[in-house]
Amino acid sequence: MSTDETGQGAAAAPEMAETSPAVAHRLIQLITPAGERVSHPEFDFWVKDVSDEQLCSLFEDMTVIRRIDVEATALQRQGELALWPPLLGQEAAQIGSGRSLRQDDFVFSSYRENGVAYCRGVDLTDLVRVWRGNASSGWNPYAINMATPQIIIGAQTLHATGYAMGIQYDGADAVSVAYFGDGATSEGDVNEAMVFAASFQVPVVFFCTNNHWAISEPVRLQSHIQLADRAAGFGIPSLRVDGNDVLAVMAVTRLALDRARRGGGPTFIEAVSYRMGPHTTADDPTRYRDANELEDWAAKDPISRVAALLERKGLLTADFQQHVRDQADAVAHRMRKGCTTMPDPEPMDVFRHVYSTPNSWLDRQQEHYARYLASFGEPAGAATQEGAR
């Protein structure tokens, strides 16, 4: 919720040469892996307002969601969650983009954008509710303007495009943002969504986090061109950004949002990052992934480069670091507590949110299920029944 006013200074916006579909993509970067702030002729503009204080808070958010991720992974290993899709290594892509959104923007994400959900203000218990198998939907999408995570690969891009068409009909200047991964770009849904988005020039941002692996399938097998170049085929301008550079991600997201708000239609962002962990807690990446690759990407870590930058600026004080650690611990603790003390749903709850109106077919199922549950009997009840006979 940050660029609304900034974006209106449109006259000051530089030419968007980088975004032309025809131009070969250069990786947009504002912070090098070593933590050096490099200037960029077009994109410095989009983050010129980011103060030291805000840089610190970006660092803090990335650290906190990494901690959330570690805690949730532990909860899965402890049997408290059925499954968890780790986001380790993708913190900058999620925080940089998530914190660029306005409150009335709407997010349609995959299952890995837990950092984005954190930016949207999701309740920490809601974050793990579905993964615990406690509910089929973790939160009220309208409470934080973020749909519940989509498990079907890429399906959310259709929802995002449809929502954007709605914004267009309403004449509003909100933006719909679809988050998906590299593998999703091979899906029919994503391609259809991009066709529609381009045809109707709707305010949608396609935010593709290229983490290089679609479970065990490397991105180089999926696409022989850069993913950002795929957008050109749809006539959608695209940007290729260092997804481990939180500032650069923020800059390109703000540009895309601004374009959408001003009626400029969709933008495709390829945030080049890396999935440092397994696909989910049920995956073993050592079976298909070269350890050297992991080492290369560890050197490009999104958090340590910001730490290095803060260090250069003299902002990485012991107090600040302690504050961030405390913050992360507190968040992790609240999430753990919320997770482990979550009341189990009642068995009949499964029928509650299927139809808004009565449905005889469902009623029949419900009645059968009630009878099934009743057949387990209860110690006290059994005695009563014997008496009744």
Partner: protein, 502 residues
Amino acid sequence: MIKEFRLPDLGEGLTESEILSWKVAVGDTVTLNQVIAEVETAKAVVELPSPFAGVIRELHEQPGSVVAVGNPIVSFEVPDDAALPPAAAAKGPANGAAATEGAAGTVTAVPEEGATEDAVAASAARGQSAVDAVPAPPKREPNLVGYGAVVESSGRPARRPRIFAPAGSSAADPSPVTPGQAGPAAAKPVESTVERPRSTPPVRKLARDLQVDLAQVAGTGPQGLITREDVQAFVHGAPGETGTPAEHRAAEQQSGEQPGKQPVVQGAGEREFRTPIKGVRKYTAAAMVESAFTAPHVTEFLTVDVTPTMELLGRLKASREFGALRLTPLTLAAKAVLIALRRNPSLNSRWDGAAQEIVTYNYVNLGIAAATPRGLTVPNIKDADRLSLAGLAEALAALTDTARAGRTAPAELSGGTLSITNIGVFGIDAGTPILNPGEAAILALGAVRTAPWEYRGEVALRQVITLSLSFDHRLVDGEQGSRFLADVGAILAEPGMALTMV
């Protein structure tokens, strides 16, 4: 307070995992999320983070043991405000509130302040209330995801089992069954013989717990459904309640027997048998599957006139030196194999995939497939290549005797380098034997038959045998396999040929 930690489902739908190692010992103090063990699932090796902060009181499983999901693996002594990390427990409420505010505050990175203030405040408020709204944990067992919820019997309206009344389409069924009347199970013998008895999972569980065979119970529910009451009535032998054949449960039955129905039910049992897969059968199956799907098998056949070998056998049996020994065609064939192996060492080797090496043996542990009371075993004769013919005959006799008595030691079953299977004793000529896992070749000996055969330019009645050799094509090419088989055949066709090979 002692807290048990049960093995969770670490993947999606796993039923068991192996404890590889413990990183802690009894008496160790551990912190929340400290790695306590390494566990291997069917999917991956994972580290187990401690779910509690406390002291390890007991390790229920040893490294190397395969544990079913849901079984306790470790017990902790934890402070009474259990399961809370000490750091967090130490934090006061004020601290918690501050943290909440901070988290919500980070939602914004605001180039221009102002319009977003309210939103931040709202977020903060929402975050705050949501956190505060976490209810005090109700008294409940830790419900580990992956093996089903514990049914809470408190705080829920007491449910009574419904008595199924005949309704709708099931109205035609006689229900409930009256004494002496043929129940649905008896009335529909065809159904009951092809399907398992109709019941519900909880009733099946009850029956299993009470050791009741549901096939013996007549159902009184709709369309013959066996209800909880039917099972209980069966156990208590309630007279007239069910048409219960009572043979198997005679001890618990006092009356109400309906022996007339027994044949129908018994007939149902005889149409198919179910035998648990275990023991030698399970091991054999695993070994055969492993072998068949790792080693690419090639089988070659050679039919030879072994009349000279049979004549030699006759002479040896008549001799003073060998007369007392148990000499058979298998003895001579085994000797022929050992001689031929020296010229074809690649058949006496092993594929070591892990080391990416081929192990060629300088010795022969000759396996002999033996049908035993427990099933197929392949004990082997150690260093068979160093034995004389007499020694080999003795070893073979000892091996088969031991195997038939079911007294084969595990050491005799491992370390084989090449095997022979004597299918001829069953009157069979040829087959495509599956390699004993880890070995490069196996030779099947067919039956020695008297058959018309070309002999010195004419057809004559000769004693003929078919040799079937399977080999691992990763290790042995067609050339080596064929040469080996031809050598064995040459010796059996003319034992004197052995002189050219040693």
